[in-house]
Amino acid sequence: MIRSLQRVVRSLGVLLVVVGLTFAIFYVAPIDPALRMCGKPCSPEDLEAARGFMGFDQPWWVQLGTFLAAIFTGRTFGSADVVVECAAPCLGYSFQLHQSVTELLADRFPVSLSIALGAVALQAVLGIAAGALAARRQGGILDRVVTGVSVIAASAPAFVVGLLAVVVFALRLGILPSGGYQPFSEGPLEWARHLVLPWATLAFLNGAIYARLVRSSMIEQLGLDYVRTARATGLSERRIDGYALRNLALPLTTLIALDIGALLGGTVITERIFGQPGLGALLLDATATADLPVIVGTTLVGSLLIVLANLSADLARPLLDRRLAVGRRSSRRPSTPALPDQNPQENPS
């Protein structure tokens, strides 16, 4: 319990550092958002006014404090005649898009969520199955195919694989749409049809990691004593595969959680290739237009998702392997013959 709390606190610390670092972008970047806002021609007075409106006239620690406070309380930019409201979980305001960053993220998040969940599910299933099959037929043709494909997949750039997929399946065969996003609410079938290519592309690229991890760990597990004992009792090979995979649950869960976290935060290249308006595309657009509040907000949320995924994987560890559950060292070794332990000085002589 205390360990879990420590982990949570540590995660919060990590997030704070990320906020600090992303916030530093404001100062390091050779961009002045106020300059963009004040229009042309921009007199020094207008610039100063814009700065004041956006809150950039304050010292950096005040800005950081205001930013953090706004996440909980919301924030109002400007004063008197022109006022921009940014509601409670306020992660900044895009003065270019005239929308709060939170709203922008909320618009885009379902897209990234759709991509992430489908892709991770697909890559985990395919990768684990391929790895397990290869381990079972170690040295065989299937093993060589899996190993070979996974080397290609692990080293292929996402844009090559993605563009190939578009060319083949959308343009040549014409069986799938080349891009675009259909909300789930407007029909699950269309939603899925539009996502098949991004899912498959990501699953192909990331599934290779699963296949290789599972292959090598399965081979290791199948050589362990407990597998030999299980075989000696006459258990079926399928059951033994189950035993081995159950022992791999720990590393696999960590991998899956991290992948979900990373994909939720947006996949820049995949989203761009398949025209998916997710968080990655948002980040890319914001970078192109130097929309700093959006960049900071997206980065922050992306990191938050990764930290959360990491945290949940950490917290799940003791559930998957009881050996990691400390503080639960239940009564061990009471078995040796009951001998008086307390009075060794008793000396009958």
């Binding site: 009792t233 006459g234 079926s236 239940s330 000085q345 002589s349």
Partner: protein
């Protein structure tokens, strides 16, 4: 051909791997209600025989000959048929109980899977009831707690009982036990051996017991097959074979086994030989000003736990008493801090060792015996009232002085295979401590490496060999040579022979003893094996859960143990000749 009580009949069984013969024509019979032991040293092919019998040999292995189980031929069956045979007719027990069960599964889950296959039990309730029945039958006092546990929550003895219970499911007629007690403490081993004997009697099953330990054979086997390099050397009933072994190899094997009875003779005879007397030893503290007490009573802690013995009769040999003290430790404690608490590995233990003396440290796993060695070598932080190595307290020295002081301590570990750098030559490994010491010319290093090899009786040509070209015993001798190269005042040998075969063990012990005779360093010999300690040590300390329960000369501790735990340990040591002496053997 086979009479009804012949359960397993191996005839001319051969196993070849990649063209190399592992087992060459083995004949062996296991009868119902009897234990047949297959004895051999590592590499003799005994485990491969077991695996080939149950069809679990490595894929590259070719098995030929005949293995009949209840009259039915097993060799040549398909994998599916062998699996069915294993699930119905054979139970198998392996060496490492701690690794025999999947670590992420409760015991009860494993039983449910196995019972579904071996007894066709599908319902959870019936599986739970049968699990409880089986766990009770192997003497587990609280079967429900055991079933609800994960493997890491159980002790080694409990785990081995769980594995035996698994093997007994489906009521097999044959049990194959491959080194079932090798990884266990002696007192636990005793319990498992008793259990096997009881099961054989009650269930009328046959057991094929595979072991390297003649003591275990002498304790429970009925028939013995001695295997060497895949060849049967001798076969016979246990009484005949132990009392009058015919083959030279069997004789060598038996004579190499350290026996407690012989150790005691040695201890008492050396005590008698030397003109030592308890009186002289008792006087010594008064006569010798700088010695505060004997090894025995220096262990008294301030908080009170006098560790037992005043010098008894047959006390310390005067020849040793004249030597200077190399180790003087009083009331040493070691505490390990973990997250969520601390653990006292050693509490209030003291020891004095003189030059040329071997101090045996005996204890079961978790007793803190290895920690003691590490504490003396400065590898773990320890608190102690007095801590002197060769007359100086390393704690009072600066970093450099401390390093120099601890450099006077040599270390030898259990597993010679992993304690030598596999990519460096033997000569390099032995000379490394000298190189680290610096300022030693190359020619001098080479000369001393040669000398060290000579001390451990290896030819000088071995300097250019790599560890994998050496046998286990040779590697351990290289480890000893490396520990001796800095001419230590104290050698700490932590289970130096536990990973070795008996014949090699005897040789390594001899080398060690001769080295001590020749260069007269002090030695802490850490072992779980009372017989080995008895055959070597001058003084003995018995550790239990971090405390010294008994301390004194080897003659006192082993010959006339005062503490109940020492007695239990002594009674648990398997002895090849015990049943012969007691005359209650069942062998015909």
């Amino acid at each position: 051909m086979s009479t009804p009580d012949e359960l397993l009949l191996l005839h001319d069984l051969q196993v070849r791997i990649a063209g190399r013969s592992i087992v060459t024509g083995l004949d062996l019979t296991v009868r119902a209600g009897r234990i047949t032991a297959l004895v051999g040293e590592s590499g003799s092919g005994k485990s491969m025989t077991a695996l080939a019998t149950i069809g679990l040999q490595p894929r590259s292995a070719q098995v030929s000959g005949s293995a009949r189980l209840g009259g039915e031929e097993l060799v040549g069956r398909s994998a599916q048929e062998m699996r069915r045979t294993r699930s119905r007719e054979i139970g198998m027990i392996f060496q490492e109980p701690g690794q025999s069960l999947s670590p992420v599964m409760k015991v009860s889950t494993g039983f449910r899977h196995v019972l579904a296959v071996r007894e066709g039990i599908r319902s959870r309730a019936r599986a739970a009831a049968r699990t409880r029945e089986l766990l009770t039958s192997v003497g587990l006092p609280d079967p429900d707690r055991t079933a609800a546990s994960y493997p890491h929550e159980l002790s080694g003895g409990e785990l081995q009982r769980v594995v035996i219970a698994l093997a007994l499911s489906g009521d097999p007629s044959l049990l194959i036990a491959d080194e079932p007690t090798t990884a266990l403490d002696v007192t636990v081993q005793r319990g498992i051996l008793d259990l096997l004997v009881r099961l054989v009697d009650e269930l009328e099953i046959g057991v094929l017991l595979i072991t390297h330990d003649m003591g275990v054979v002498g304790e429970i086997a009925d028939d013995v097959v001695v295997l060497k390099d895949g060849d049967v050397v001798e076969t016979g009933p246990v009484r005949r074979l132990l009392a009058a072994p015919e083959a030279p190899y069997t004789q060598a094997l038996l004579s190499a086994v350290p026996r407690l009875s012989e150790s005691l003779e040695r201890v008492s005879s050396t005590a008698a030989d030397r003109p030592a007397a308890g009186g002289a030893a008792a006087d010594r503290p008064a006569a010798d000003g700088d010695v505060e007490g004997t090894a025995a009573n220096s262990a008294d802690g301030p908080g009170g736990e006098p560790a037992a013995l005043a010098d008894g009769p047959g006390g310390e040999p005067a020849a040793l008493a004249a030597e200077p003290l190399v180790v003087r430790v009083e009331s040493l404690s070691v505490e390990y801090h973990r997250r969520g608490g601390s653990h006292r590995a050693l509490e209030d233990v003291g020891m004095e060792i003189r030059r040329g003396e071997i101090h045996g440290l005996v204890g079961e796993s978790g007793s803190g015996k290895s920690t003691w060695g590490k504490a003396l070598a400065g590898l773990v932080p320890a608190q102690a009232r007095t801590l002197e190595l060769d007359g100086v307290d390393p704690r009072t020295l600066g970093a450099a002085g401390r390093r120099a002081a601890y450099a006077r301590v040599g270390l030898v570990f259990q597993d010679p295979a992993s304690s030598l750098n596999p990519r460096r030559t033997v000569g390099w490994s032995i000379g490394e401590p000298l190189q680290l010491a610096g300022n030693v010319p190359r020619t001098e290093i080479a000369r001393r490496v040669k000398h060290a090899l000579d001390v451990v009786r290896l030819p000088a040509s071995y300097t250019s060999r790599l560890p994998h070209e050496l046998s286990g015993g040779q590697r351990q001798r290289v480890s000893i040579a490396r520990a001796l190269i800095l001419e230590p005042a104290l050698l700490i040998a932590d289970e130096p022979t536990s990973a070795l075969d008996v014949t090699i063990q005897a040789h390594v012990i001899e080398v060690l003893r001769d080295a001590i005779e020749a260069t007269r360093f002090a030695c802490v010999f850490i072992s779980h094996d009372l017989a080995v300690v008895g055959s070597l040590a001058d003084h003995v300390t018995v550790l239990r859960r971090g405390r010294a329960v008994e301390q004194g000369t080897a003659g006192e501790v082993l010959g006339d143990p005062q503490h109940e735990y020492t007695r239990a340990l002594l009674a648990s040591v398997p002895d090849p000749a015990r049943r012969l002496r007691e005359g209650d053997g069942t062998a015909a």
